[in-house]
Amino acid sequence: MSSLFGARVQRVEDDRLLRGRGAFLDDLGQDALAAAFVRSPHAHARITGIDVSAALEVPGVVAVYTCQDLPPRLAQPLPLLIPHPDLTHGRTPYPLASGEVNHVGEAVAMVVAADRYLAEDAADLVDVSYEPLPAVVGLDAARAAVHLVHDDVPGNRAANSVQEHGDTAAAIAAAPHVLELDLEIERSASMPLEGRGVLARWDGQSESLVLWTSTQTSTGVRAAVAAKLGLDLSQVDVITPDVGGGFGVKIVHPWPEEVLVPWAARMLGQPVKFTEDRREHFIASAHERGQQHHVTVGYDDDGRILGLDVRFWHDNGAYVPYGLIVPIVTSTQLLGPYKPGAYRVEFDSLYTNTVLVTPYRGAGRPQGCFVMERTVDAIAAALRLDRTLVRERNLIQPGEMPYDQGLIFQDGRPLIYDSGDYPAMLAKIKDLIGWEKFALLKDAAAAEGRRIGIGLACYVEGTGVGPYEGAHVVVETSGKVKVATGLTSQGQGHRTMLAQLVADELGVPMADVDVVTGDTRRFGYAVGTFASRTAVMSGSAVTLAARKARQKALRVAAGALEVSPDDLEITGGMVQVRGDPDSGISLGTVAVLSNPLRYAFDDAAKAATQFAGGGDPGKPPVEPDDEPGIEGRAYFSPVRSTFASGMHAAIVETDPDTAEVRILRYCVVHDCGPLINPQIVEGQIHGGVAQGVGGALYERMAYDEDGQLVNASFMDFLMPYVSEVPREVEIDHLETPSPLNPLGIKGAGEAGVIPGAAALAAAIEDAEGIPVRSMPLSPSDLFELRQASDQQTAPRAGGRQAGGAIPFPDGSGNDG
């Protein structure tokens, strides 16, 4: 591989952003009308009337719309994006509520006014009459199903899904030991610093719509908006501006506002903009994570897992526009790097009267990882074995790759791990954190009256999910290279990373490469940015497209230089005979020659005009199977996902009095195949780890029993500041190439967050000698765990071996 792949190249995105010249959604459309939404104050209610007359009297108000005002296509529920045979009772929201509201924050009416202040004034005056209904809040209430979220969904059950590999019941029945665990993870959310936002301009003369939206999929929004507005795709373009973070929440589409704002812009003949505020983001965008699990595991004397049965309940909120992706990911990726003898997983996806649930970075994996890793630690505890030893005995071996887990993954394809070296990774993480020496540290700390603990968690992550991405590469006559790919960016440095790949392939300086993402005017076929897929999918696509452009450039240059293309190379933007710089012509000149001209628009173009003497007069200037220009268009569509992996280890200190948890060290070993830009990958890991810490110790969505989200602000929802994150995330890489794409790469975007809760739970458990079964764990939670534990007679935290696990005071280690 040539020079830029693997280099810590500084980002091309940064200069604009550092100077305040970014263009985020609310920075655009300063002339636009502003939309504000009337949102339900009730978690569950029937709407018995809406009076908009007072709102219409507010000066500056242009229009107020309710569901009644919408045309038939818009007065229907929004699409169920990812249907699944098990999703027997899929329900999606209306753009504006029709008769019933199912969560606090659901949009009921839209106000359009001269500015946002006036629009909000008017929204306050929209008089909605509600008949409150019983609210179903939390998984216990959803499972009990005393009340229903949707009248026509019995048991609040959107889906029941089962997958099994092997005969799990028989394997557990025959196992020497059986353990049962109940585990729980609470809700959190993506919570990007920039909320959602959308700006629409309808051009009545050309009958066309341009939409800017803070999205993770511009092509998805384009198709959905065209369908909902009854427009041809060619009448709609979607441009993704700078996006202030996504983390999953912006892959959902179309959000109600994404169809209502362009519809209003068309109705009113004026641009309209909606910018979500922070409270709206809490109550009207998506959450994730909330699940309850019951695990039954059978294992042998060495800790080998013979049978694993997982039954879980997933809180999908009021609606399921994104289908079953989150619980499917949980149910499949739960297995991590392990190979249980048999595995059965069954989940219910349940409605509650809360904000809908769609993927947040990790997308169900943090829960699965927490469940699996807690289970492995529980086995180690019951057998009084070192926790890493039990892991080692259950790992898939490198020689077993590709490894078929016998399940169907979220892409509808078999869950087959393509590559990885988990034993080597385990050795690396033990080495990095100093696993074997920890007992000494712990004893020394104990002698000072301090409690410290160590924990470790492993995961495997399916990345680079299909179906495809594409790219277009064109060499302009200036020699500059313009690249477009359809998926979008939210701060991951895609323009830099993709430019590195193209510069390498084409032999041009990186400064000459300019990459555009998420603009349907430039590239119309795309899926989106999710599932750690950009490097794999668009990275491969731009590479293949650049290779095509390179082949064309070599062919055209070979004709001009009267040599074989095989004798040519491209270096520093010059096409030359190998090793002979004097023979070269610039790539820009090659681009001129590739496009036979009638008219000379500048000096360079003269060379390609009809009297310049080039070409064979007996042949057409453009051969029948050829095209003008130095261009390449290519698509990459892998047979299935590629599986990255990692292991995190943490050392924590718990305060004996306040029960605060302090992270003393946090180590990461990460394998995403060869790294295109290590600086960017490490940045992704840092950010993911911070979100993992948030999910483990601080972040929860605090709903009261009436379905009010009582911590819907940054004052009360505790996102980590610098004071909460590890001082240094210590990172080591392993690079196991994937056989499934031309660069051998795997995705890296989500990895950092996945094992956070699992690793920290293990470390806290080790420090405290109390089993940790639910996350997040606040100081109050830990205090309560201590009190509950003190009331039990079993001794805690006594006489453990080095790196050893916690014996079970609750007696749940049951020799079956």
């Binding site: 305040g20 970014g22 202040y117 919570m191 610098v722 004071s723």
Partner: protein, 177 residues
């Protein structure tokens, strides 16, 4: 500040500010937030609004040299003040300021939405504590939220910025000598 005409039934007030060294005037309703005035009246959209309740720090500007949250101030209350926004941080010749340069070198930003607030905060912070130790650097950025970076590279940027300021001062004094 002088009362003036109305717009949509709201009385407008003239606010005179010095923004990034230039005299600017805006006519705004009394309730207009300074953040909105800067972004939508003065069209300086580099200052971002992340929470509208003073917690995230994305909207931090320098008001008479001190970092403040522009979402917690009314524009009319800033009448007569000197304001520096992210657009005013670079040197007059366009060179990135030391803090901006440090963020570039250390990969101190990802999506860039919270970045203006960090840049202004650190710019002010390093004037008070020019050579921060790790604890002081953490304290300096302790009131700003970032969801992308995990702060590690922002902390590195604080230290690097302090270094660049010293390097630039040294080369300027060498240039004078």
């Amino acid at each position: 500040m002088s009362a003036a005409d109305e717009l949509h039934g709201e009385e407008l007030h003239e606010v005179r500010l010095t923004v990034n060294g230039a005299a600017r005037t805006a006519r705004v309703p009394a309730r207009r937030l300074l953040s909105d005035c800067i972004r939508h009246d003065l069209r300086l959209t580099g200052t971002h609004v992340g929470c509208e309740h003073g917690v995230c720090g994305a909207c931090t500007i320098l008001l008479d040299g001190l970092p403040v949250r522009s979402c917690l101030l009314l524009a009319v209350s800033a009448d007569g003040c000197d304001i520096t926004t992210v657009e005013g941080l670079a040197e007059t010749d366009g060179t990135l300021s030391a803090v901006q340069q440090a963020f570039f070198e250390c990969h101190g930003l990802q999506c860039g939405f919270c970045t203006p607030g960090f840049l202004t905060t650190i710019t002010a912070g390093l004037r008070v504590v020019p050579d921060p130790d790790d604890e002081q650097a953490r304290e300096m950025i302790g009131g700003n939220l970032c969801r992308c970076t995990g702060y590690q590279n922002i902390l590195a940027s604080v230290h690097r910025a302090a270094e660049i300021i010293r390097e630039r001062a040294a080369s300027a004094s060498a240039g004078r000598a």
